[in-house]
Each structure stands twice: as structure tokens, then as C-alpha cells.
Amino acid sequence: MVTHHKSVTIQIKRYNPEEEKNSVDTFEVPMTHDLTVLDALNHIKNSEEGSLTYRWACRMGICGSCGAVVNGKPVLMCSTFCRDLKHPITVEPMRNFPVVKDLVVDIDNAMDKLRQALPYTTMMKNKAKLDHELIQSPKQREKIEQSSQCIKCMLCYSACPVYGMDQDHFVGPAAGALAKRYNDDNHDQIKEERMDSMTAKNGVWNCSFVGECSVVCPKKVDPALAIQKLKVMGVLHIIKSALTIRKKKKA
């Protein structure tokens, strides 16, 4: 049973691309105990402002579509309850991304960073392994459990000031976690190529451990720790590569 005790005030930062104008629109939404920010936006769109634009899909914190900055913190709107927030509630688009319209941002740059992590396994490098099934033990699966939870919501990129300051020379939190996930996968055969990519100039080195990415991650992937581990692996990789080159030169 839905009971309307009171209403909640929601202030939404909007952007009109046709007029290239910003505005902050305020709406009153009937408050219920289980009202999420996404529910509130849907109510606003259905009853008051049909032009309000935002992304959403699953409504249950698994697709990563509904990321926004709510009361100054990057969150998934479907998993954020209005009862837990200070009122009035402010909703803004995710930071560090160009705004397309209202709360919709262009995440293409961050998606390109994910490609840099070579987020796939390949069996073609060692064809002998194709002769039998590729087994992964529960212990091996557990190793990639945490980093596999990433839903590519990009909240970590929104929270990362290093990415905000210099998008060209830092691969970013999610890409780092993704690279760690595939490095730890026992099926993986392209670790060296992936480490070449991660230890490049636009790799992981610019991370100075702000740590906010791990705080905002809705799936507790801990990308900050993943990047620090990648840095250690990166140093070993660079040393190994240098020694390998020396051996080849001597030969």
C-alpha cells in the first residue's frame, strides 16, 4: 500500500543542447518509503516534465545505465532511496563527461579506455590448449570474482579527479579493474600485450590514489586497489621486458 505522507523536493540540473543553456528545475514529488531517485524522475517525466532526459533500464542496480551525481555524490539513481538523502535532493549529470542533454552524458571516451585494457581472453595464442576443455577451478574463479562485478556504470570515472584533469594520459579506474580481472583469469594468454597497454604513457601511472573510485563503486570492485596492483605488476613487466630485450640483443 502506498501512503503519501509528504513530498520531496528535487532540483535537477538540466542542459538544453539546442539553446546551449543550463537551468535548474525544481519539482515536488510525493514521498513514499521506498521511493528511489529514479522513481522520482520517472514520476516527474510522466506527470510534469516530459522532456526531462536521462538514462535508465533495469531499475535494480545491474545495468549501470542510471548513473548521476545526487547530492554531490556519483550514484546509481535506481539504488538510491530518497529517504536516505538530505532534502532538497539535487540531481546533476555525472562529472567529467560532456553533457548531451539534461542528465545524459557522453561516455565514449571512458569506453575507449576500457578497450585499452584488452578485455577479452584469446585461445589462439596457444592452440595446443584447444585440445581439451578449459577448466577453471572454484579457487581460480574466486580470484576474478570481485573485479568481474563491474557493470561499467562509469561512476568511478565521474569520481576520479585525475581523470577529470587529464583524460588523455590516464586509463581510468574501470579500465584498470578490467585489466586486472583479465590478468587474473587463468584462461588469459595475452597478459604481456595487456601489460604493454597498461604501462604505456596513457596507462595507469597517473593514479595517485585518491580512492574515491572505490568509495562510489556500487559493486565494491575496488578499482583503486586494482590499479595499485597493476602498477606493481607494471614495474615487474617493464624490468622483465628490458631484460628480455637485452638478452635478444646479446644473442
Binding site: K73, F97, P98, D106, P161, S208, F209, L225
Partner: protein, 115 residues
């Protein structure tokens, strides 16, 4: 139709406490650098006889020491988050207090051996 670029403002570090602590941590490194370079310059000028006695070493050492203290305390806070095994937030705080204790104990022992 144009996308609106969102630039990081100059005062982004005021958005939350974690950002502020991060900036303070980074700036503490600058304080240590001021001490090191300041002492180099002071020693150089002193060797040329261009300056007699001055309070500059005292103030440089104060800046350096303050920076070193802030740097140590803030990095020790971060260390439990970098361990290769998972810790709960409470466990991380316990490890932090433990690390602070070791640091203070070692500092005390070093001071006792010098003085």
C-alpha cells in the same frame, strides 16, 4: 547542437572530505620539497658568506617537519586500503591505529638513541 564540456573546477577538492585530505596529502610533499630546496639555497648562500646567522633554517625545518608529519599520517591512513587481502572498514581503522603506534614507537626509539 553542442555537447556541454564539464571541466574540473579550481575548487573541486572542496567537494568532499576525501578530496580535501588528498590535496592536503599532495601539498605536504610540496612542504617537504620547500624544506629541501630551501636548505640547499641557504647552505649555498651561507657558504658564500652572503648571509650571517638567520632564522631561515628553523622556519624551513618547521615547514618540512609539518609536511612530513601530514604526509606520514595521511599515507598511513591509506595503507590498509592497499593490502592484498580484504579488510572491513573497522579492521582498516584498527590497522591504521596499529601502524601509527609502530611509527610513534620507532620515532621514540630513534630520538632516544640520538639524544
Amino acid at each position: 547542437m553542442k555537447f556541454q564540456e564539464q571541466k574540473l573546477g579550481h575548487f573541486w577538492w572542496k567537494q568532499n572530505l576525501r578530496y580535501t585530505i588528498y590535496i592536503v596529502r599532495e601539498l605536504s610533499g610540496v612542504m617537504i620539497a620547500i624544506f629541501i630546496f630551501g636548505m640547499f639555497i641557504h647552505s649555498f648562500l651561507n657558504s658564500l658568506g652572503w648571509i650571517a646567522s638567520s632564522e631561515a633554517p628553523f622556519w624551513l625545518a618547521t615547514i618540512g617537519m609539518t609536511g612530513a608529519l601530514i604526509h606520514t599520517i595521511t599515507w598511513l591512513y591509506v595503507m590498509p586500503q592497499l593490502l592484498p587481502f580484504k579488510l572491513t572498514p573497522v579492521q582498516q581503522k584498527i590497522v591504521y591505529v596499529f601502524l601509527l603506534g609502530i611509527w610513534l614507537a620507532l620515532s621514540y626509539l630513534m630520538l632516544r638513541s640520538v639524544y
